[in-house]
Symmetry: C3
Subunit: 214 residues, 3 copies
Amino acid sequence: MLPELPVEPVLEVVGVFVAAMSGALAAVRKQFDLFGLLVLAWATGLGGGVLRDLLIGAVPPVGISDVRLMGAALAGGLVMYFGHPRLERARRVIVVLDAGALALFAVVGTVKGLEHGTTALAAIVVGVLTGVGGGILRDLLTGEVPVVLHHRQLYAVPALLGSAATVALWHLGLAGAVGLSAVAVGVFALRVLALRFDLNAPGPWRAPGASRQR
Amino acid sequence: MLPELPVEPVLEVVGVFVAAMSGALAAVRKQFDLFGLLVLAWATGLGGGVLRDLLIGAVPPVGISDVRLMGAALAGGLVMYFGHPRLERARRVIVVLDAGALALFAVVGTVKGLEHGTTALAAIVVGVLTGVGGGILRDLLTGEVPVVLHHRQLYAVPALLGSAATVALWHLGLAGAVGLSAVAVGVFALRVLALRFDLNAPGPWRAPGASRQR
Amino acid sequence: MLPELPVEPVLEVVGVFVAAMSGALAAVRKQFDLFGLLVLAWATGLGGGVLRDLLIGAVPPVGISDVRLMGAALAGGLVMYFGHPRLERARRVIVVLDAGALALFAVVGTVKGLEHGTTALAAIVVGVLTGVGGGILRDLLTGEVPVVLHHRQLYAVPALLGSAATVALWHLGLAGAVGLSAVAVGVFALRVLALRFDLNAPGPWRAPGASRQR
């Protein structure tokens, strides 16, 4: 994926590391023990990619076999284990880094699906799943309803647009380093703008005339 | 599957559509946003088939790659998003349609397992899972204990009997359109009779002499 | 696996039977109906192996296709359905048998991963998952946060050490019946000692100076 872009493997490791920190933070709050915290870090950092690999038949998934990615997930977990609560004050930095991880995961996940010969539709599904699947696993394992399903933030939607754009570029023969980087930057920008200006996705169904609530 | 029966693909789309509506209804009740509602519609309509395809190695699953089935799931979700609460009044119709979806999913899922060379036992498991897996995913994603595991209704049992009958017909060389249709009608009838006469599966363990409770 | 050891298939059936009883007990407590209880027994007894087989591409998983293993899981469920609450008094025996199942599952699961050509890292992951995955599924299906993630007992850690030792023996060419049996006995002994002397894994993060709580 993105073979012309030597910076991409580095970014992927950073993305896994940051996502793993978010999983470990959830584990800290739930009073998980160290083993549970590392499982959460792994599931959040690599779970989306594992689900993607299961769906496209790329087994064993890189999320359990790649030393570099596993190392990034466990390192993210350990840093949060020992660095908490100092790191909780760096929450804003983590949220921005997480936007970068989302963008990268969506683009890389979509490309991997296409490389395995999926339909355009399936590539979009696995691209979005690579981006949001880790957070869904984190929430299920901590007994929470997955936040991405009800928080109304623009989180999955940028990933969805990015996956669709990646598929379009692929079919136009433009899925090189420049094109894919542009998509990733676009997803990142949209996510950051949504955070900055509190933009929302369409919310739950509402009775006509009912007072709006947040 | 059921190749002589041109009506079957239409029925499958209807089944996915109806099951997706039940998932979207759960999402409406949990105040999910539109993305979450569509995920629930997808998981409920197609999740059982996705689990089946993962277990038999038919990847990517049709539930993420087939435009027709994905369209049916998303349409079911959108109809519930915009049609609620009018549709909630049509609850009885939905329950009967859902019985049809259960019957069709169990038969089609079992046949797909057999076509992929599974053992008779595995074919029964994936047939039942095709029928009830979507509802289990719906419940897990909304933070509920899967209702099919404790509601005591005859829901999984008709699917189980239908899957076993499908395997028997297959091994007898009778798994043509007529035979499989008869099984599906039988599952549907048993489910509707159970609803009508409030028939129950064996309930939880009870201490001898304890007063019965519903 | 362990081909020179005719006692191993018997042990595996016993392990599945015991784990299935623990799943059925959770179902009894949650007032699941008989179908739900058998699903729980199956998921707890065979779910870890099913997840392993999905991750290494060994589909259909033995957990849905092997009559012997399925029979053991369903028998464990039925014995608990009819034997409860007499069996609850035998809790100590069940806990010790479960330690044996954990040890066996971790070793057998790791070997199966290696036999399918996984990396050493992936073999360790699937070995541990074979040991603890069934309990995680049991907890998720009953609406609980997986106990293995926060109970602080030495449960996953012995499995992890056993999987790592199995990989080491494999690469040293010593993964015969004697070597693997020694590993399994070691995992079992560590787990039983942890139970006896209340040994704990590293717990959740704690603020320096905060009073300790159990």
